[in-house]
Symmetry: C3
Subunit: 367 residues, 3 copies
Amino acid sequence: MDLGDVPNDQTWPRNAWYVAFMADEVVDRPLARTICGERMVFFRGQNGEVSALDDFCPHRGAPLSLGFVRDGALVCGYHGLAVDCRGKVSGMPGQRVGGFPPARRYPTMERYGFIWVWPGNAEAADAALLRHLEWAESPQWAYGGGYYHIDCDYRLMIDNLMDLTHETYVHANSIGQKEIDEAPVKTRATEDEVVTSRFMDNVVAPPFWQMALRGAGLPDQDRVDRWQICRFGLPSHVMIEVGVALQGHGGYDADDTAKASSIVVDFITPETETSHHYFWGMARRFAVDDAALTDTIREGQGKIFGEDLEMLERQQANLSRHPDRKLLKLNIDAGGVRSRMMIERAIMAESGSVASSDRAGLDMAAI
Amino acid sequence: MDLGDVPNDQTWPRNAWYVAFMADEVVDRPLARTICGERMVFFRGQNGEVSALDDFCPHRGAPLSLGFVRDGALVCGYHGLAVDCRGKVSGMPGQRVGGFPPARRYPTMERYGFIWVWPGNAEAADAALLRHLEWAESPQWAYGGGYYHIDCDYRLMIDNLMDLTHETYVHANSIGQKEIDEAPVKTRATEDEVVTSRFMDNVVAPPFWQMALRGAGLPDQDRVDRWQICRFGLPSHVMIEVGVALQGHGGYDADDTAKASSIVVDFITPETETSHHYFWGMARRFAVDDAALTDTIREGQGKIFGEDLEMLERQQANLSRHPDRKLLKLNIDAGGVRSRMMIERAIMAESGSVASSDRAGLDMAAI
Amino acid sequence: MDLGDVPNDQTWPRNAWYVAFMADEVVDRPLARTICGERMVFFRGQNGEVSALDDFCPHRGAPLSLGFVRDGALVCGYHGLAVDCRGKVSGMPGQRVGGFPPARRYPTMERYGFIWVWPGNAEAADAALLRHLEWAESPQWAYGGGYYHIDCDYRLMIDNLMDLTHETYVHANSIGQKEIDEAPVKTRATEDEVVTSRFMDNVVAPPFWQMALRGAGLPDQDRVDRWQICRFGLPSHVMIEVGVALQGHGGYDADDTAKASSIVVDFITPETETSHHYFWGMARRFAVDDAALTDTIREGQGKIFGEDLEMLERQQANLSRHPDRKLLKLNIDAGGVRSRMMIERAIMAESGSVASSDRAGLDMAAI
């Protein structure tokens, strides 16, 4: 396997499934996207199946993404070299292509409404390694979401999502409220996830949740118990169980008829060392047939996550300006810190290094 | 004192007062500006006093300039860490902040209509070191000015202002006239300033000065004696006494009733090695109550200094392209050359080096 | 001769005539352009003759291109230093300029409707080395053309023009047709040119050629014999004989009354390692007095060459991203490969190296 272009000090696991596109984005034309530092071209070939190849024509280096799809093959728009869905050169006018080098192929999969890609060792790609997402398949859930390109290290986004204290400040007018940064936060890590949770009992619902309560057919001015349970998993997603229950009905464990709850869905795909693709959305268990509500939520969520964008990009600019400065790691940061340790261990496992806790500790000190 | 981020070959004195803002620019929201290579945030805290801190939250590196002021403290807009006007962390929701590292503070002062900042060693900051500016306090003077960001080494602006020969060319349609580059120029240096002077007797007043003569209630078509006396002082300002007197009344020494005179005010604050903040203005002793005239002059001066801007930025681009080329140092350049020597001695004094004339000579050969 | 700023690994011959401007672009104001890595200023001095100098004032490094022409001399717009057409400082107000260093001069020539410049050793410049261009002088030809700035290595443009297979793909809607990439291509090299030719007999004329046939007063729906003969010559032009003859009249050798033919003219002047100036045009032997047709052809050709632009710039971006990747060299690439070998030999001859075929072979393997 040729890893020639990969920097030694990579900051992401490579042998993992990453979201590359929302499935409906990839239609009849090839599309370019850089994932984990590798520039790829995605296209739908035979039977509409999506393939991902190195976006570099083996002939003269033109981007294959400027070409077109014909009979299931991707045809270079410069001189007509055609590659099949596995990257094999399948033809070129006037040429015998038997000995042509292939374009590198990246394993892909379409599932749960997304196109997933495996940037690392193709032989190791295994569909079974993709985590099951119940909300994406069950009729009991409705989903809506969107995409942002963000110019910061993808781990800053993980930090952001694993510590919702920032809602009080960054999202003061939508989901933020004073009680968030006053409520204690708990962090724990298991084998395969890091969980940060916060419970706020007997509070007034902020605007977003008032809207959700109305959507669920519940009174929007009553006091509620509110919760946020952030779950990080490899390689880089954060699923956040969020909700409010009418006060006194059991909070998180309340019956569905007394609460509005949902999962904030975040797939965070590295592009370069200082940029990433952010796929955000919300899966909800109330009013699942209300398409207009889906649109309203998507619009609201898009605005909220747009507020993070400026903060994160300027945080990145500050960190790039001062790469050697140490940052604080408070209790509220534990979710991000532990998620980074899990990432670090995965990277070391790929490179064959021993993931000694010493090493991890040293590395974490420099986040 | 932590000087970690400062390059060894700095091109500006650090222990000095620099203009950072016009005073009325800093109101209720924090503002970021890079001064002498340090990115700072300015805000008005308790009693409206202006503070400057490192624009980097001690918690996670977010820019403090994205935050807000509450009860005189600057609150980070990401997770709510608050710093007081001296950079001490004064609070954060749910945290004991006693052991938190402070944000670096830069001494500031509001005086003469400007916010001044001291980028160097805070202990050495002394308000008494700020030069007295009579025109800024006396009712006998009127002042108007503006700001430009210019992408060139601040010393190219000093060169520009210490050699007004360029007016004949760059400002041919406003203040330039043929007699400028024909009149000899004299340069002398004292302990604390470099002075370049030029006198043009019995000339026609160019358009700008015709306007000034009218503003002063004098005939604008009579022949005049004209003068320009440029004074450079550390760390980087140039005050230019300029004026015209009706011919035969004594020129520079003429009675106030026979002349129109003013001071061109230039504060030149380094931003990076190849950019600076330029605060320009004019203090005049005629028609001081005529606010409309102040606006007219500001507008005219803004246009004139905009003409320098393109020339200086493209000169910088040329010098960056050819960093090793030697430039000529003619008699007309003596003002800039001597000002740079004064700057060089100040830098060496800060670093503890002996300001040997040999060293200075060698360095000047490379301007 | 001072070659201080020239990189050792230059990718173009320097002792050669390059097109710098279309002649009518250089009028009364000085113009800057970077040619072969050297930033030059062009102006018309005494008798309207065009000169090219280093765009760097010997005084303080301001760009001379911001100045103006007076009495045949180029006057710097900063402080009035004047240089004559050979770069000698001819005057400056208040200065004795006898000992001033000159601005470097680059030999120039105006011929065939272009301004030509010699970026290398001025002593070696010889007007006789400029190739004769019959179409530019004879009344039997009409010419129209234009200019594009393109962000790619100039040799990628040579590759493009020496292999017209790409027309089938890049120019599918104008001059491309399926028969191009099906017709075999032949490449041969002589002492001073590389020739790639392709003949397509008994085909339907594509839209561009239908228009040309109409312009020549011939039927535009009859079947034709079509040809393309690409000729590369040093330092970097490609002249392409193109045309169609009514089928059965002898093809390329048909009588003028049975064909429409022209020369696609391409002057490709390096700017930097990854950008060039592209002067394109068409010289035709039919309807030479039809100025409206000249405009129509220019417009059509401009659109077609604009299609190449995106492909070439993105190919360059891909190659810059992967500088070590080997590309394929197929039979259709032979024209470009051999042209690059000719360029490589010229560069080695300039540097005094032996142009061993081994060396050339090694270098070509890395294109």
